[in-house]
Symmetry: C2
Subunit: 337 residues, 2 copies
């Protein structure tokens, strides 16, 4: 950064308008009374100099930054991408900015700590945690320092506010749909509850509901989409299986790609389900049967809750579970035979 011209300050404006800096401050901040004639002179001077309020100086004295920090671990996934957009939009509506900190993809604790530190340096007023990976216990210390809302994932810790779409309901609805179609031998691509707070519970719900209703379940551990080829192979080794449930739309797409390579007919030979309702992935072209989460609503409700916390109120619902929708596409059908 080389010597670029300094921005004009309140004092430059005051000098040009022939008043004190206090008057200019009152004009630009809109607090306190100023004579009509004086106000006009000040505005003209500001215009002439190209004066723009310095939010940094203002933030320092006001002890307010009107900024909330979004902590995102798995930002690259479309679900969190959408969520972030929704947050940003709603925050702007309330007059807040969002700065995003990410654990830079790494899985080390120090990484997260640094990200939080950065947000603290910026004096964000509150925190929105969006991450299916970060375990609850790690969020508690954040919440002790700043008003914190967890968005897009189930959270039960009493000291934390959260907004999410119930994972049990989604997993159960999808499982019920397959049972209703007549499937009784079903594979579930499972994710350990310990490795993802969102993906774990939903696959657990699927498995549980299926078993409770007399279906036989083959659990295939599948945290990484890259192993979709292996899932396909494993499913096909069990010819009695007629349906596969996956933990997310992306997992479903990856599986469908693999099945296509192997010339397996969907839904004739195998039914497949997704989860999330990511716009681009659930195009009618593919017609994926899935559980749709109201991502935009989750985002805006999370921000609303945060704003209430900032205003000192306790939000009405400490943990808000929003309703999702079962979307039936063309990747599920009654089992053959």
């Amino acid at each position: 950064m080389t010597d670029r011209p300094r921005n004009p300050t309140i004092i430059d404006v005051a000098r040009l308008a022939g008043v004190s800096k206090s008057v200019v401050s009152r004009v630009v901040s809109g607090r306190g009374s100023v004579g009509e004639e004086t106000r006009r002179r000040v505005l003209r001077a500001a215009e002439e100099l190209g004066y723009v309020v310095n939010a940094v100086a203002r933030a320092m004295v006001a002890h307010r930054t009107y900024t909330v920090g979004a902590f995102v671990r798995d930002a690259a996934t479309p679900f969190y991408g959408h969520l972030l957009t929704a947050l940003q939009e709603r925050a702007a509506f309330h007059g807040y900015r969002v700065v995003t900190a990410t654990g830079s993809g790494g899985f080390e604790v120090s990484d997260e700590y640094r990200a939080l530190e950065t947000l603290a340096m910026l004096r964000v007023e509150a925190l929105i945690v969006c991450s299916g990976l970060l375990p609850s216990e790690q969020i508690v210390p954040f919440a002790a320092r700043l008003p914190t809302v967890v968005a897009g994932r189930p959270e039960t810790h009493p000291s934390i506010t959260s907004v999410y779409c119930d994972e049990d309901e989604g997993g159960t609805a999808l499982a019920g749909h397959l049972l209703g179609l007549g499937h009784r031998e079903i594979a579930v691509i499972t994710v350990a509850a310990s490795s993802s707070v969102t993906l774990g519970p939903r696959t657990a719900a699927m498995t549980r509901h299926l078993r409770e209703h007399g279906a036989r379940v083959l659990e295939i551990p599948g945290p990484h989409r890259e192993t979709a080829g292996a899932w396909a192979t494993e499913v096909l080794r069990h010819p009695e299986i007629t349906a596969v449930m996956t933990p997310s739309d992306r997992h479903a797409i990856a599986l469908l790609e693999q099945l296509r390579l192997r010339d397996v007919a969907v839904p004739e030979r195998l039914s497949v389900t997704g989860y999330d309702g990511i716009g681009d992935l659930t195009t009618p072209l593919i017609g994926l049967t899935h559980w749709r989460q109201p991502i935009d609503l989750i985002g805006s409700r999370a921000v609303d809750a945060l704003v209430r916390l900032l205003d000192g109120e306790q939000p009405p619902d400490h943990h808000q579970a929003l309703p999702g929708t079962l979307v039936i596409g063309r990747t599920t059908a009654p089992p053959a035979g």
Copy 2:
């Protein structure tokens, strides 16, 4: 915001450690020399109080915010979403933060002006403009105030630096691909150059190249994806047409959905092409033939150029055109008959 406890300051730390604030400042900022024993005492005191540097105060005195503003108009589109992520990542690498301002979707000029004003208030050090909609002339005044780089769209104005993937090359390559397959009657969903700086030129290039090589082109004006049904109807009114070129992957998907509803076989009856190479949209499951832009590279090169501008150097290439790739999928094939 109700009375939450003040954050400890450098002075609190100094008092606890029994030194002056200057010493603490030198320890936490890492400039200037401090005795080893004193440094340890200061660090211990900072730890004990939970001291975190105040970036706001620091920014004020240093006249640096290490923040760049990203101005995005069409943020909801996946192309710009990806680009934004890439920018953020690379900026972090260089030690900068990104704050995003959007024209809130509206199309009024005052809207844009306010967004720019907001960024100016925050004292961002530079600007990255990502928008296919904003016309060049409107960017020039931004660039007069702040170092500015335009990312992801062609830009030829001499006073502006830009990084993009050449639209001519992409349009020409896709057109050449169809010509090579033997298509001679082709529809192009066109976008007026005036309404989008990216979509306009690429469809113009397609049309031009096709015509120059003896193909007959039917131009269908199609800025909005919602009218995909009308495109399909129009194309099918001309039975001689064997291929349709669209201005983006999303347009292509929308068209494919409509063709599917009408039971039109792709690619047997009609070939279809996309443009951009959005990861989620170009899944092998759909196998869309498209031109892939190196979005991540565009983002990181744009940030690199910006950092050079901030360092007072002129970036080596004023306008950097990066190479794209022709990706041939299963939505294009030789014409029937």
